[in-house]
Amino acid sequence: MTKQTFLHGKHVKLGAKMVDFAGWHMPVQYSSIIEEHKTVREAVGLFDVSHMGEVVVEGEDALPYLNKIVPQDITKLVDRKAVYCQMTNKKGGIIDDLIIYKIQDNKYLIIANASRIDEDLNWMVRNKLGFNVNIINESHNYSLLAVQGPKAVELVKKMGVSDLPPFFSIKRAELFNINLWVSRTGYTGEDGVEILVRNEFSETLWDKILEAGQEFGIKPIGLGARDTLRLEAALHLYGNDLDEETTPVEAGLSWSVPKSKVDDYNGKEVITNQLANGVEKRLIGLKMLDRNIARHGYDVYYNNEKIGHITSGGISPVRNDNIALAYIKNLSELVIGSVVQVEIRGKMHDAEIVKRPFVEKKNKVNT
């Protein structure tokens, strides 16, 4: 049975094209993916991402427990701050990528991928032995709305949250007499917020944001543009760019993994070893040198040898070219500027290794 968010009726009424995604019936586009993409890069967009999972971990061992299930150092996390994490298995493979918020001592909030929430909960329960924690799945109680784009902050301020939390922080707030959480996070590379609200208020909030956002050119944005936006920002998508066979180091996420974490965690041996001695495969960014589009699953070649495959690929509406993320064999001669080939329908097409992200990120402004 396909699930629906509390905003499903709103999407249908807006004429959205609906698709099944991770067991949810979700809007893929309202008007045009390219148009929606540009709206988020140039003005502000509103996303329903209520399919995402919310899990509360609380209890006297919440901190040591979380510190065991992710490579990140949760002991460094202060109240109302967030950290981007990967939950790893014993081999260092990624079970899911998460945002963990510290609400207060002994209480943390996890935002997880819709496609992985069942696996996440299974794994979390399996790792609970010996820890005095409660793992509470709150996903069915909360809706998540994202307001993203260069005009997002101005809009949220206008709606009444004068004092926005800094990047990767969360605060309690009141909007239109609704109590909610506002987090300075997103999945677009733009500045903006994600708003966590109890389901019963989500429709009112959706309408009010669209109304207040009119003067800023707000539009509702579907999952299609969410995907092109995150690809330009080179943000990983679980299931494409991350899986249980891939470690954070291989995924180019070493920046998020502390090298000196004292506590043991699942996969620490593998990850520590990779940080010190390197990896056999690694994630790269590619720019196609012709108009062909690299897509998930296509093979990557170098010197006529297959060296890897594309995990995410598509158009960049802002750069007006075609970009991709790929995993390749870690050959030292392949650096930024090197040219490899992508096999597309039986033919080789040149692609250049380029820096990630593909567009400049605009979200690390602490105002």
């Binding site: 045009s32 993916i33 390219i34 589009i293 897509r295 158009i315």
Partner: protein, 126 residues
């Protein structure tokens, strides 16, 4: 515009030009389902394809789609305009944004599973 148009269940159309010449395109329903079209790959002129054989690729933002021959034939012309500006396909699929022209000596049997445009529309529920 859809006068005399025959459609496949895989959303291609053909339009007879007389003398064994046909225009092949993608239906308006198909381009609406695809959304923004961003890339079109068309075959070489003079190449020959069997009925139901893939002869072109149309890519939307989300995915690449193979396009199949409604009947057998030889490519006599390709629409360079849509290669240069794939978004034209979203605007005028039944008119200026045709895909290829072919010559065909297909027998009647190849036309048996093709649908009149109105029947096609009913079939796809549009």
């Amino acid at each position: 515009m859809s006068e005399g148009m025959l459609c496949t269940k895989s959303h291609e159309y053909i339009l007879e030009q007389g003398g064994g010449k046909y225009i092949i395109g993608l239906t308006d329903y198909a381009v609406e389902q695809l959304g923004d079209i961003v890339f079109v790959e068309l075959p070489e002129i003079s190449s020959t394809f069997a009925k139901n054989e893939s002869f072109a690729t149309v890519e939307s933002v989300k995915a690449a789609s193979e396009i199949y021959m409604p009947i057998s034939g030889t490519i006599t012309d390709v629409n360079e305009d849509i290669i240069a500006n794939p978004e034209l396909l979203n605007e005028d699929p039944l008119g200026n944004a045709w895909l290829v022209k072919i010559e065909s000596n297909a027998e009647d049997v190849e036309f048996k599973d093709l649908l009149e445009y109105s029947d096609y529309k009913e079939e796809v529920g549009a």
